[in-house]
Symmetry: C2
Subunit: 283 residues, 2 copies
């Protein structure tokens, strides 16, 4: 029976710990997260509201700056430049996706690396890619690593197989595992012998968004991390992994929901606080 | 018997082709490579002289700017800013390694991405890492891909195993292979079951610098690319791979010397010319 990697419990622990530290801040400047929201995508609005609520709960000031979908790219960049220069703002986040007429990269790269709480600007990406320490790591990959660390799961020398190569999850988590001295294989839709490769994994990270990892597909004792989250035909929230089939032979396994999902927001808050500390030279 | 991947022949072909194109340039502005050389490391001096000679042969103007090892970082950055703004300079290269008192990253990142002929600045690295097209790809990885392409070696869906994770070779070539839809495993000194993993490779790239890949270690038909180059005990130039042992079962194999080595300089010249074309909107 695999141990459940309980992201919800770790999120609560991280947030309680952050709250305690933030309550004790003696400086006038306090951590403040500015979120830029463009358009009226309901999922984005929900995410942003959750971020705001969680921030509030632990004493992080937040500001949501909303724009209509028709906003000009230059206006967003100007706003970010203003936030960059605003000493009361310690973290800036642009809620993705952005409308198609906006150059996402240009907008994200206009954020000062020191305030780039999602770790997605070129400076922070390049640091990650060369094994150096960025100002902030992307939130979901960071959440994965924190959850593994919470359960003292060894990474060095292990064979980690990452399925999926998105900018937000697959690619950065592969680099973070590599930088922690795992041997890393990245798989994707063109991978021919996926079951064969998955079978060799000591640590399996699946970030695809469809039911992919079923019975008999992992080796005994594998650590299974399921980043996928979507609704199945019956409307039930599920992940890439057949949890019931794999749980008996995994050594550790994340549930969906309640695994990596809660970790993403915990990492966002940790990043916001860490950037505040670094900017104020307290860490 | 494996087909020899003849880097020397491809280098000559590439250089001849570049020469023809450069001879036909009708603009007043011509491709010009500026090389910054710091200190008196004999290997660096040799490399820089080779670059100059090859550039000259094909009609690329080159300028070598030499500094004593004691040069201040700020002076290098100022020089690079001057070269950035000099319209007659189309490509800038900082010969590595730099003395320890100089922040290599800061120096490299002061090069305009459009003139960064080694593809090592953050902007170009981040593009590579996110599967987009940088202004220039790092020269050795680019040379590897060009050599594979010259022999029409399929990459998509193949399992590529990269041994070594340096910023100059292992990490970028892994990303280039991933961006061409290979399944990619990155191995290094912490990898536990290296022989087992190597045995699964359709394409093996070894960039370590010691004799590592011997008899019976590859599967039949593997494409073997040896980036290692060093002198053995008897003073003979050799690579990571036991060429004689592997050549009979590889489908393709690079010799050392004469494989990837010559490709690096060919890629540098190609990058110099390509940056010239892009800057002048000719491509």
């Amino acid at each position: 029976m695999g141990t459940i990697l309980d992201g919800k419990a770790l999120r609560e622990k991280i947030l309680a710990n952050l709250k305690k530290q933030i309550d004790n801040i003696s400086l006038n400047v306090r951590p403040k997260l500015a979120v830029i929201l463009v358009g009226d995508n309901p999922a984005s609005q929900l995410y942003v509201n959750t971020k705001k609520k969680v921030a509030q709960k632990i004493g992080i000031i937040s500001e949501i700056i909303s724009y209509p979908a028709s906003v000009m790219e230059d206006e967003l960049v100007r706003k970010i430049e203003e936030l960059n220069n605003d000493k009361t703002v310690t973290a800036i986040l642009v809620q993705l996706p952005l409308p198609k007429h906006i150059n996402k990269k240009r907008v994200i790269n206009s954020i000062f690396p020191q305030k780039d709480v999602d770790g997605l600007c070129e400076y922070n990406m390049a640091k990650l890619f060369t094994g150096e320490i960025p100002w902030a790591y992307p939130c979901t990959p960071k959440g994965i690593m924190q959850l593994l660390d919470e359960y003292d799961i060894a990474i060095e020398g292990k064979h980690a197989v990452v399925v999926g190569r998105s900018d937000l999850v697959g690619r950065p988590v592969a680099q973070m595992l590599l930088n922690r001295n795992a041997t890393v294989t990245t798989c994707h839709s063109y991978t021919k012998n996926l079951p064969e490769i998955i079978k060799t994994a000591d640590i399996l990270i699946s970030a695809v968004g469809k039911k992919l990892i079923g019975e008999n597909m992992i080796k005994s004792g594998c650590v299974v991390v399921d980043v996928g989250i979507f609704k199945d035909e019956s409307g039930k929230t599920t992940g890439d992994v057949d949890f019931n089939a794999l749980e008996p032979i995994a050594s550790y396994i994340t549930p969906v929901p309640g695994g990596i999902g809660p970790m993403t927001i915990a990492s966002l808050m940790t990043n916001t606080y860490d950037l505040y500390l670094k900017q104020n030279k307290l860490s």
